[in-house]
Symmetry: C3
């Protein structure tokens, strides 16, 4: 695989590279017209999303029969992936791990970095480079913003780069979550993502998923967004500016009942109190931002309810039995969307059918 | 797979379901005449045991050659299992994991639940449902009595159930241990399990294995049982009642030397002091319930010595070299019996030979 | 596989076996002219090293194409390995794990022995024997000197032995590290290991790798060694005696700059302060034993720089970009060398090409 020519000739220092706009960086993390390192939700264009969704659909259909499953698990049987999760996340970890297994990749896991050589005084960069020696792909989750990107950047400068997939880095990016959320909308809407009213509810300030999803909405036509949140946790200004620039209408409100009637999709979120600095979540009444059994009568028959999970009380358990509650399918969609992405990165997506 | 019709139409609440007699529950956890969720030792009938033992024997024979091993590991190559072990148990864990690998299943592990989303305020039910999204089978060990059963019950109510195998739940059930113990007797007795005198020794009050094994003895004819224990740790009344109801003769004694001479099998157990409430084990002289080198001369030439392991001092290490000491084979039998069970659940047992 | 006849007839007790010279023990750990248990660097003769290096080279070449990789991963597809790492070592662990995956072996991991039955009062010997029941090979790292050897010795006395590979035992042996270091020299010197000047630098007293590598040098002709270290961490007398006995010339010096000009290979090491008894490392100025950017001009064009990693500051990061810095390749060589060793142990090395 060849990196885009202009970028290789430049090769700036990390300190000069980091602050560049994401749109400038994308070529550096692409090869042969494909995503090589998947780091930012911004790497997903409308066309690429459509392609990945078709690939994910093909994967689920083909693997329903044993012969198809065995075929798919032969596609990357020569590849070994390392899941480097320096931050606890069993959910994303399991989703990626099983996506690897669907494609036949062998997997190694690093989940507790305290057992690694970091304790012997090694730099994180050396640690990652060491582990990359053994594998063909790194799937990484890391608490430090920018660390996953830096890993990919470093790898690309070595004689033996391997693709890096971002499984969540700090508070900034979690691109495959955005991918699976959009894939869930795609499946819920029978492939038609234009002309929708999407309602996002809850802790929008600190929810990485609603931020990424808002970005991806620029790929679709005639989208309108409603942001329903307590005033303490309103969507941040950078996203609102982005929507204005791209001409995507949005409203901010605390009136959940008022906007849910016209929603095509309601994206519920948990209060992110793990990001509290001084217990500020405790002073907020979050209950107006719950989806309750009684709301099922008020939403459209075609409206779907999403949630990135885990949930606490923001969706009543009895709602789960309604066919419009798609958050459990959303979990499973994540595995298929991630498998599609990895098949794309390795260029075996055309061999699935 | 279709669940038995009567049960699906009922679908009682969990609170109403839980207290039902196990015999009433078994159909709910069965499909197409097969075990679907393996939760209770009571699910193993004489015929099913015989079938599973023949299957386990076939597995070990076929896999002795590489071609056979490769065939067997193709049987479930399209399946993914999750081992959810919320309680430490490397032994049972390893046994199940390698059983999965024998059948070609891909595996994911959750062993430290503190890294899971349970820390983010999710209910255990949501956590388990999430993880089930990615896999085709859950093998679960959990410290809370009834939790594994509840998981299976919940799964059966979702649109995408997966079979659940009990790897030990609280103090109540550990059905695959009973399966492997009986399989070890079957192999030790050349397939003839009727007409035996089984001696169980040690902490019978708190030993889950001796309780389950006693249950399973109802499947065989002309069995007699001897329970040898300190008076503090005698077999509990529910088991003794069960034996009376099924006309299985038993005796309780502290005289180990007296009963060992006529034993066909001696099942040794460790003192279960991890279940002590106030250090009560410390006041008990456990040494009369040890099997020592000198006892080898006193037991029958055909008598076998079992132990679920781990042991402390209740069997002298020098006994291991005697061919009648089968507890190391018992360990390995567990792996084969579990592989046979999983092959049965997925309906590939007929394809082994 | 048959063990060498003389040894099986002897079968001494462990206490009598342990103190024997390694050369006497090697037949006990060999079968059919092959290494069975890999425990000591002394098991690697010149011929065996050459064979393993050719095997490793074949593995990397064959696996470059998918068809070759799939062929290689079919060679041991019927085998299951257990990685029992009672001591943290993610690096060695990952290297072995991926080596297993290259050969198609299924793997189980025990990394945190606190979750094992050791907590239930089981002896380490019973624990290891239990886990061996499920697998076909044990790869073991253990902090207790001699424990890995004892495991192999015990296994060989059971009815179902499995080969044991030493992944590092206490301070005494780490044979596959010596193997990969020598393999790296082999590749760096285009297969010609005779007539070289090897410079070892740093904490030679406590560095297991430089000790093992010194041993292996006896397999090659006209080798000269330079030991560059602070006076507190000079190479120990047993190694110096060994070199004298085998007529291998060596010099000890603190003058790094003086010897690097004639070096064919420079083997850098980290200060091993985890072995400090009373903070003795803190009083040592280690900086004269650093390899710096400026040294690149002083060494031969063909000289290579090795390091077992992890490093701290003893090699400047800017050195990494020089083609003579081979320590990153050395990491990867480890995986291939270990795969070659395991292919040899199982007798599939001839089937690779």
């Amino acid at each position: 695989m060849k990196r885009t020519q202009e970028m290789t000739s430049v090769q700036p220092d990390w300190e000069n590279f980091l602050p560049r706009p994401i749109s400038d960086k994308i070529p550096f993390f692409s090869r042969d017209g494909r995503v090589y390192d998947c780091l930012f939700a911004q790497q997903f264009s409308r066309d690429l999303l459509a392609h990945l969704f078709r690939t994910a659909d093909a994967l689920r259909e083909v693997t329903q029969k044993k012969g198809g499953a065995d075929h798919v698990s032969s596609l990357l049987s020569d590849k070994r992936a390392m899941l480097y999760f320096a931050q606890p996340s069993t959910r994303t970890f399991m989703s990626f791990l099983n996506a690897c297994h669907i494609l036949g990749m062998k997997t190694s896991e690093i989940r507790d970095t305290s057992t690694s050589s970091e304790v012997k005084g090694e730099t994180p960069e050396d640690t990652v480079r060491t582990f990359s020696s053994y594998v063909d792909m790194i799937i990484m989750r890391h608490p430090t913003p920018g660390f996953v990107e830096k890993t990919a950047w470093l790898m690309n400068r070595t004689g033996r780069p391997v693709p890096v997939v971002n499984g969540g880095s700090g508070k900034d990016q979690h691109p495959t979550q955005a991918l699976l959320d959009t894939y869930t909308l795609y499946r819920s809407f029978n492939g038609e993502l234009d002309n929708k009213h999407i309602v996002m509810v809850g802790d929008l300030k600190r929810g990485r998923t609603v931020r990424s999803l808002s970005y991806l909405m620029k790929n679709y036509k005639n989208i309108s967004l409603s942001f329903v949140s307590p005033k303490e946790f309103r969507m941040e200004a950078d996203i609102l500016d982005f929507l204005k620039r791209h001409g995507i209408p949005y409203q901010e409100t605390e009136d959940f009942a008022g906007v849910m009637r016209t929603a095509d999709a309601i994206y519920m979120t948990r209060i992110q109190d793990e990001h509290d600095k001084a217990g500020e979540s405790k002073g907020v009444d979050y209950s107006p931002f719950y989806f309750r059994q009684e709301h099922l009568k008020q939403i459209k028959k075609t409206c779907v309810i999403l949630h990135p999970l885990p949930r606490r009380h923001e969706i009543e358990v009895s709602v789960d039995d309604d066919p419009r509650a798609v958050f459990w399918r959303q979990e499973r969609n994540g595995m298929w969307a991630r498998a599609a992405l990895m098949a794309h990165i390795f260029g075996v997506d055309e061999k699935i059918a």
